[in-house]
Symmetry: C3
Subunit: 322 residues, 3 copies
C-alpha cells in the first residue's frame, strides 16, 4: 500500500491518520514529544527547530481551542504562524479548495494544519499539495484526529509505562468520533491487551472487531478492571438527531461517577478530550479527582503537536537512536 | 490583609487592582516603564525580557484597542502572544470559566491578560490559576482598570514631576468608570494634594470621601486651579438608561472648551482615556491643543504594560535600586 | 509636483500609488524583490531587516488573502505584525479615522498597511501620519493597488526580461479595477511597446489614451500577437448594477480559452490577480496550462511586498548599485 504520509525515503511528510503507521513510528513520536517536556518543571521548552518556517492554521471548522494548541506548538518551535479563517475568507468568493490551497502554498508556507468538517479533507490536501509543503490533520469529519490520539497515548505511557498489559475502555459516541477512531488505531498498533468500546448500540460502529476493539453496552461491565478510561465528549448537536437520549438519560447510563470508578482497576486513570460537559459525561468529582489526567492531556497536546510538526518538517532532532 | 497580588516573598504575581498597592511599588512600575522609553527618540525599545514566554490575551469583552496595546507590549518584550477570542470559542460549548482557565494554563502559558464585563473576574482567575501563571487585569466590569491608571500617572509624572503639590480633576461618569476608580486609588496612594470628582450627582459614587476624593457638580468650580484634568469617556449606552441627559446637554454642563480651560492652572494638562467623543466630552480644539496629552497617554500605555508584565513575570530588570 | 511618497531627501516614505514613480525606482523595487527569492529553490528567504519594527495591517475591507500576504512578508522580514480588524473595532465607537490613526501610531508602530473601500484613503493617511510612520497602500477603492502591479511586472520581467518590446493586453472591467490602473501606470513607466485595454465599452475608462493604453472591444483582436495577457477578476457584485451581462455572456465575449490563446504570441503568458472564477474569466484548461503564471504571481507578491516594506522603512539593503 502506498501511504501518502511518507515520501520515497520512508520519511514522514504528512500526518493524516494513525491508520497505516507502524508501532516503532508511534513510539518515536512519543519519544520526541517527551523530549520537549522539561524534566525539571514539566514546562514545554522553546526550541529553534522551525525558525524561518511558516505554518498556516487552515481551519474550516471553528475551534479556538485546537487552533490555539497548534499555534502555541508552532511558536514553541520558533515558526511563524498565520491563522487563516476560512469562513471570513475567499471561500465566500467562490474559490475552489484546490485553488485556495495552491494560492496559499505559493505564499511560501511550509506546513498547513487543516481542520475540516469532511472526512478525507486532509488527505485530499496532501494529494494536491506541492512536494515541499506538509499537511497535518487537525481533525477531518468523523475520520481521524491523529494528534489527539498521540497525546492520549503519551498520557497513558507517562502513567502506565508499558502498553502491552493494558485494558482500555473508550466510552461514548464512538460511531461519530474521530477521536475514538484514531485512538483505537493507536492503541491497537501499540499492542494493548484489550480495547473496549462502550456505548449505546446506535453509537457503536459495526466494524469494531476489525479495528481490534470489543463492544460493550453496559458501563459497569465495560470498565471492569480496566487501567484506562477514556470518556468521549457528548456532541449535543447529535441529540436532536434522535441518535441520543436526553443528557440526563445519557448520564444515567454512560456517565462516570466516583462509585462506578470502583469497578475499574484501583490505579485506573480517567481521560477526556475536553471540553467536559460536567454532569453529562462525568460528575465534577470524577473530573477533578486525582485519577483524572485530563489537564495533563492538554499539556501533552502541545508537546505531541511540536513532535509531529518537527518530524514532518524533516528537521534534525536531537533525540538519540529511534 | 492577604493581598492576592503578591506571593509569600512579597513579589508581584498578579496585577489586579491599584487598591492595595503601596506608593513605592507604584513608583517602581513608573520607573521600569520609563526605562523602556528611549530617551533619544521616545520610541519604545524592543527587549528580550520575556523571550520564550507565552502571553494569552483573554478578552471576554471586545476591545481591539486595549487588546492591541497588550499585544504590542508583549511583543516588545519578545514574548509569544496568542489572542483568544471568547465569544467565538469554547464558552459557546458550555465550558465553565474555571475549566477554560485550567485548560489554557495546561497549554503552558505564562500569563493571561484578562478583560471581562464582570467586576472581580480577574481576581477570580488569580484565585484559581496555578502557581506559575500570572494574571493581568485589563478591565473588569466597573471595578478596576489598573494599567490605564498607571499610564495616566506616568503621563502626569512626565509633565509635573512631583505628585505631592498637584490638584487633579476627574470629570464625567465616575460611578461606572473602572478607569476613574483605579486612577483615584493611584493618585491617592501617590499622595497628590487634592482629587476632585466632577460630574452630575447621579454619576458620582457615595463613598468618594473614603477614596480621598471630593465631589463637584459644577465643572467651572471643579477645574478651578487644577494642574491635571482627566475627562472620562461618555458611555453612550448609559444614556438609554436615563442616568445621563442627551449628549448635547451633557456637553453643555460637563464638556471641556478652550474658554473653560482658562479656569484651570495655566500649565494644566488635559487627559482622556480614549477614544474621544469629539463635541461631547470636549471640543476638538481642546482635544488637539498643546495642553492635550492624550496621545502621549497612548504611548505610555505600551511602556506601562511592558513594565507590569515584566515585573509580574519576575524577570530580572536592569532598573537600579527600587 | 510634491509627491507625498518621498521625503525631502527623495527617499521613499510611503508607497501609495504607481502614478508618480520613476522607471529607475520601479526597477529598484524589482531588483530588491528578486534578491529575497533564493536562486536555489525559489523559496523566500527570512531576513532580519525589520527586526524590532512593528507593522499594523489596517484593513477596512475584509481581504484575508491580501492581508495574509502582507503578514507573511512582514514576518519574513522579522517584523512584529498586528492585525487590526476595523469593523470589529473602535470605528463602531464613533471614532474618527484620524483619531484612530493617531492613536495607533502613538502605540509605536512603524508602518501601516492600509486597505480601504474609498479611493484616496491611503493618501489621506500618509498626509496625516507622523513623520516616523510609513503607509503602504494595499488597495484603495477604484484608485490603485500598487503592490499588485509590482508583482505583476516582476512576473513579466522573470519571463520576458526586457520590457521595451512587449505587447500587453489587460482584459476585463478596467473601469473599476485598481489592479488595472496601477498596472497600466507601471507598464507605461517601464516603457512597454503597447498596452491594450480589452473589455466592453461600459467597462473601459474614457482617459485610456492619456494613460498610454489603447481600447479594444473584441478579445480576438485585443490579444492578437501580445506577449502578456492579464485577465482581471470579474467582480460579481457589479453585475447586479447592470454594467455587466450574465457570467455566461461575459465568458462568451471576454473569457479566455485554449483556442483563443492561439491568437497571442506563441510564448505569451497568462496572468490573473486571483482568485479566479473558473469558467468565467477563463477555462480551467487555460488556468492550469503551462503558460499560466498565476501562482508565480502569488509567490512574487510576498517578495515584492517585502521589498516595498523594507525600502519604505529605510533600512540598509544589501542590493548593490541601484
Amino acid at each position: 500500500m502506498n501511504n501518502i504520509q511518507f515520501d520515497n525515503n520512508r520519511r514522514l511528510k504528512h500526518f493524516i491518520s494513525i491508520e497505516g503507521l507502524k508501532r516503532d513510528f508511534l513510539l518515536k513520536i512519543l519519544k520526541v514529544a517527551q523530549s520537549f517536556i522539561s524534566s525539571q518543571d514539566h514546562k514545554i521548552r522553546k526550541v529553534p527547530l522551525l525558525r524561518g518556517k511558516t505554518v498556516i492554521n487552515l481551519f474550516f471548522e471553528p475551534s479556538t481551542r485546537t487552533r490555539t494548541t497548534f499555534e502555541i506548538a508552532a511558536k514553541r518551535l520558533s515558526a511563524d504562524v498565520i491563522n487563516f479563517n476560512i469562513n471570513a475568507s475567499s471561500s465566500s468568493k467562490g474559490e475552489s479548495l484546490t485553488d485556495m490551497l495552491h494560492n496559499l502554498e505559493a505564499m511560501h508556507c511550509d506546513m498547513f494544519v487543516v481542520r475540516h468538517a469532511s472526512s478525507g479533507a486532509a488527505h485530499f490536501f496532501a494529494e494536491h499539495v506541492s512536494p515541499d509543503t506538509h499537511i497535518v490533520n487537525a481533525g477531518d469529519g468523523c475520520h481521524e484526529h491523529p494528534t489527539q490520539a498521540m497525546l492520549d497515548v503519551l498520557t497513558i505511557q507517562q502513567h502506565k509505562g508499558d502498553f502491552a498489559p493494558l485494558r482500555v475502555a473508550i466510552v461514548g459516541d464512538i460511531l461519530h468520533s474521530r477521536v475514538a477512531r484514531s485512538l483505537i488505531h493507536a492503541l491497537s498498533t501499540l499492542g494493548v491487551m484489550e480495547i473496549r468500546a462502550v456505548g449505546p448500540k446506535t453509537l457503536l460502529p459495526n466494524n469494531l472487531e476489525n479495528l481490534g476493539a470489543h463492544p460493550y453496552h453496559n458501563l459497569h461491565e465495560g470498565i471492569r478492571d480496566v487501567d484506562v478510561i477514556v470518556m468521549l465528549r457528548l456532541q449535543r448537536e447529535r441529540m436532536s438527531s434522535a441518535l441520543l437520549p436526553s443528557e440526563h438519560e445519557y448520564f444515567q447510563q454512560f456517565g462516570m461517577t466516583q462509585s462506578l470508578l470502583e469497578e475499574a482497576h484501583p490505579d485506573a486513570i480517567v481521560m477526556h478530550p475536553g471540553p467536559i460537559n460536567r454532569g453529562v459525561e462525568m460528575t465534577s468529582s470524577v473530573a477533578d479527582c486525582p485519577r483524572s489526567v485530563i489537564l495533563q492531556q492538554v499539556s501533552n497536546g502541545i508537546a505531541v503537536r511540536m513532535a509531529v510538526m518537527a518530524i514532518a518538517m524533516g528537521v534534525p532532532l536531537s533525540v538519540p537512536e529511534y
